[in-house]
């Protein structure tokens, strides 16, 4: 059941109301039956409230007035009156339940549809999409924007019944007397105009108030986040002043909204009272001329006391409309991004290699969307089983080379081949069959250590233990309260940077990769431990053992420590996206820029 995701297609110049109705139609198409049930409930409700006023009117004429002012009424009439009031009341109640339930169902289902569509798209778009946006922004699309885009649906069913309500009440009033209908025709449009006018007037100050809340909490976050610095600088008083100024501003904005509301609201809620007094006056005059009964007047008055509610609902719908349209636009912009082309023959990629796999970068260039080249004419061949260290200053293109090899991004020009196959044809999933990458930023999921190591694959405990041993992680994992089943993340234990890196290495090893890429993957690991890990990686047997055990993996290491660099068969020195020199560490000591960098590494080294 793929969701019907059709882009809005509306031009921004189109009026908000038109775009709003388009959004309504789109939502109705998405879950038509649920919406229909909610709207049906709302219409029954509209009929029931008009019906209730008719009942009250007739009871006044036929039961109350004769019963109390006249000669009395039979017991049966009283019982019927009670039963009819109760009956209409129950119908009214049930219709409200139906309206609320089905309308909520429709809203929540629509939310689910958008949430699924958005999160699916996040998984399927190219990595460049993610690199161009902040995580907070992406989360907001899946959370707040979905809420906002569907906020308009909440009053929808009720609003859809307003027409029915208007027709039924006008008919009811006309049946009593055209003069009553006239009062209504003057009264209710006035209410609608008042409501719209208030909504418009309050829009800007309300938005300013919302912005002021943002500013204020921004200050609170900054100030308390940096409390150590605030204290060391003795800036407590200045910070309180800054916060108070923002809080004052917020108060002023809110008071502005409050002033508007206090001007409009009493008028809005009291106008029906004015209408009722006028009705009463007209009604008594009509009674005097025998043109209406007392019951008719009562009926008209009780209708008036109810009619403000649907007017409010309509107002609420119009108020939510612009926000919802904007929210939906943001969602549509996400959905407009086409998913990354996926290779058709996924999972069947890596032929069981008897040996390890060579890696070829063939005249590779890479640039972010129209930006300057990050890598340029990058030619690098790694023989099977070879260990190569990538060295270069910040921004020289090391991490880009890693991302290209992992198939995370496609090269702008040239080709990256693994075992002779271009990465672009394999996609990240295909590449991950052969290549295991340990990224610079270790990412662990809020799950057990075991799940984090396996990531959806299967491996027995022996293999897991062996991988942990090589990554020098076996020790601390066994000391955790639940060992491999210890939960990580917010609700679980927190690991140090070095421990996290060691788990990430074990995760890579567990896949018995033919190619292993370490992007500065041991920066937080103690140098002595690091040396041990690297020794283990280069040992011929990788965990899992067994008959199909592979040989030494081809190893690409981005390194900052001389000890690591010295382990490599070959060092590739990158400078501003180009290979400046290659050779062993000792050979490169002839290159001036390389020596400067190595010296700086030495100076900065020893971070613990």
């Amino acid at each position: 059941m793929p969701p019907q995701v059709t882009p809005a297609g509306g031009t921004p110049t189109e009026s908000v109301t038109r775009r709003g109705w388009r959004l309504v139609r789109r939502s109705l198409r998405l879950h038509p039956w649920v919406h229909a049930a909610g709207i049906m409930g709302a219409n029954v409700f509209a009929l029931a409230i008009v019906g209730f006023t008719v009942v009250v009117g007739r009871i006044t004429d036929e039961v109350i007035v004769p019963g109390l002012d006249g000669e009395g009424v039979p017991r049966r009439s009283v019982l019927v009156a009670v039963a009819v009031v109760a009956g209409v009341g129950v119908v009214r109640g049930v219709s409200v339940v139906a309206r609320r339930w089905f309308n909520m169902l429709a809203t929540v289902r629509t939310q689910r549809t958008w949430r699924r569509a958005i999160t699916d798209r996040y998984l399927d778009v190219p990595l460049s999409f993610h690199q161009a946006r902040s995580a907070g922004q992406l989360l907001a699309h899946a959370d707040a924007d979905v809420e906002v885009a569907t906020a308009m649906l909440k009053p929808l069913a009720f609003a859809m019944s307003v027409v029915m309500l208007a027709v039924a009440s006008l008919a009811s009033l006309l049946l009593v007397h055209p003069l009553f209908a006239l009062v209504a025709v003057v009264m209710f449009p006035t209410l609608t105009v008042l409501n719209r006018r208030f909504t418009r007037a309050v829009e800007a100050p309300a938005a300013a108030g919302q912005a002021a809340v943002g500013v204020l909490s921004g200050i609170a976050h900054e100030s308390l986040d940096g409390v150590l610095v605030v204290k060391t600088l003795g800036r407590e008083r200045d910070e309180v002043e800054r916060f108070t100024a923002a809080a004052d501003d917020l108060r002023a904005r809110r008071l502005e909204v409050g002033r508007l509301r206090s001007t409009y609201a009493p008028l809005y809620y009291s106008l029906p009272q004015v209408g009722i007094v006028v009705l009463l006056l007209v009604g008594v005059w009509l009674v005097d001329r025998d043109a209406a009964s007392i019951g008719d007047v009562v009926r008209a008055m009780s209708l008036f006391s109810i009619l403000t509610l649907p007017m409010e609902i309509l107002g609420y719908l119009f108020q939510e409309m612009p926000r919802s349209v904007v929210g939906m636009d943001r969602i549509d912009r996400v959905l407009a991004h086409p998913p990354e082309g996926r290779p058709s023959g996924r999972g069947t990629v890596a032929a069981p290699a008897p040996d390890t796999v060579p890696v070829e970068f063939d005249d590779v260039g890479f640039a972010h969307d129209g930006g300057p080249p990050v890598l340029d004419g990058f030619d690098l061949h790694l023989a099977a089983g070879e260990t190569v260290a990538l060295v270069g200053a910040t921004g020289s293109g090391k991490s880009t080379a890693v991302a290209l090899l992992a198939g995370l991004v496609p090269p702008t020009s040239g080709q990256v081949r693994i075992g002779g196959r271009p990465t672009t044809g394999l996609g990240p999933e295909g590449v991950s069959e052969t290549v295991a990458t340990v990224l610079q930023e270790t990412f662990l999921f809020a799950d057990t250590i075991r799940s984090n190591l396996l990531l959806g694959r299967h491996a027995d405990d022996d293999a897991v233990d062996a991988a942990l041993a090589i990554a020098a992680a076996a020790g601390f994992v066994s000391e955790l309260p639940d060992g491999l089943d210890t939960e990580l993340g917010e609700r679980g234990v927190t690991l140090s940077g070095g421990q996290r890196q060691r788990l990430a290495i074990a995760r890579a090893l567990l896949r018995r990769p033919e190619v292993l890429v370490l992007d500065d993957a041991t920066s937080a690991v103690d140098p002595v431990v690091e040396a041990g890990i690297l020794e283990g990686l280069r040992a011929p047997s990788i965990p899992g053992g067994g008959p199909e055990a592979v040989g030494t993996p081809t190893l690409l290491v981005v390194a900052h420590r001389l000890a690591t660099i010295r382990l490599a068969d070959r060092v590739v020195f990158l400078d501003e996206g180009r290979i400046a020199a290659t050779g062993t560490h000792e050979e490169l000591l002839e290159v001036e820029a390389y020596v400067a960098l190595a010296r700086a590494y030495e100076l900065a080294g020893g971070h613990r």
């Binding site: 976050h221 940096g226 409390v227 150590l228 009493p266 008055m301 992992a406």
Partner: protein
Amino acid sequence: MSADDPRRIDGVGALSVLRRGLAASPELSAGAWQTALMALSVAGSKLLVPLLIQLVMDLSITDGGVRMGRTVVLCLVALALVLASIQLGRVTYFRLVRTAEDVLLGLRTRAFAHLHRLSLAEHTASRKGVLTARVTSDVETLTQFAQWGAVAWIIDSVQIVAVVAIMAVYSWQLTLVVLVLHVPLVPILKWMQSRQLLAYEELRTRVSDTLAIVSESVHGVEAVRAYGYREPMRRRIRNAIDAQYDQQMVAARYFSLVMPTADVFGVMAVAAVVGTGVWWGDAWGISSGELVAFVFLCNLLIAPITEIGEVLDQTQTALAGWWKVLDVLDTEVDLVDPVVPVALAAGPMDVRAEGVEFGYREGGRVLHGIDVVLPAGASVAVVGETGSGKTTFARLLARLADPTAGRVLVGGVDLREADPDDRRRAIRMVPQDGFLFDTSIAENVRYGRAGATSEDVDAAVAELGLTAWVEGLVDGIHTRVGERGEGLSVGERQLVALARAQLADPGLLVLDEATSAVDPETETTLERAMERLAAGRTTVSVAHRLSTAERADLVLVFDDGWIVESGPHDELVALGGVYSGLYASWLGGTRDPA
């Protein structure tokens, strides 16, 4: 989640929250009586229509026909009263809003100021988010309540009382009928409310679960792809979204039922009033006008009862939020300024720790019996494993906390006695996280000393040899540093922090070196700047750099809260103890074995 659940105020009644809140917010009681009186009039004005109906039906429409003149007079008086009530309503509503905003402003700023008075021991990493929430989201729940719930409580409860009072004037018998019929509504609404509350609480958990998993898929996008974890991730996200949906529908059950339930009870009251009123009306002395007015009065009860039902949930959240903010205000300030402040001299100062111990309120002691003397002008390196107490020791020197036993003397003055303004000038700590404010570099440096001019800022930058670096930035010294300073690299943030310290010209400098990797180019600049900053001051560095320890006059080795070794670098290496072990492992990674 559960620790910071806004609803958990077990055993705390609404009244005790209110009492405590009143004490903490004088704005709340200012003019309260007048406000209450006005609210009463506003609620009373809603009764005009039923009263008018009763009067007109009973006085104007008599057996002898209709008295039009009397009707006109009654209606005009009613009209005038309605118009007056609109004006009164405006004034009252605005008064309520203003009071609410005054209370919120006061509460917010007092809580914020109090948070900044608390020592660092209260601002632990794990509580940081919680404390921020106190002055943001917790006060916001109060705001939402103030804008609707509180006003609803005042107006609605007054209206209910007024309606019932008028009813009782007309007929106590019928009033009894109405009240009896509404009695079962109270437990039913209460029960539904508590179920609804639970449902929403559960829903909040589901929502944060969904957010957590989506956030993982976004933050870990590279890991997800690099490990072929896309499809399992998709299943996990979908499960979370579906679980949230299911819970939304559980909550929808109560959302759909609460309002109509109250409504149905209201209608049943009308039915009962009509039945009993007509049947026994003559005996009870009820006129037809009064009975019709009663029917309208019943309708006037439905709305406020339903609304109170709807704001109950909000009320509970708001009370809990209020309670927590009040808790902040009641947290004892643990760093007390001296009654008789002692001045600190300018120039390098010696440091003396006498029997210093430190322990956090929760968790064990982190420092035991520290006795050490650091001569004025010395450069001291403090080393040790994570958790050895070295950072805590550094913080005590800047009086970010007071020792739980013993004392710290700087320049011969116990820090507890030292003039706070002198202390801030003469002792400067540079923390390792290099947090910067979201403004320009110049402004961030200027924060180093109150009243510093831009010339002072430029001078400080120049003195540390940072002019070239600053000029290389996009907007020079006016470059904005971004949130938390994240527009700059870790190393660059440290440079700004050093310039800030230079501007203050302290006699005692406490440096907490950064642990994370700094790029080599910045490293060189940083090294030089630190050297210049340290010149002519007593310097205590929590050292993560080998070179810092090598250069120091004195190295203090911390282990498990004790100073286990101290002396110059060479002596300690020769000693073959803890320090020489540390040194060996340091060397292993960084130096080419000679």
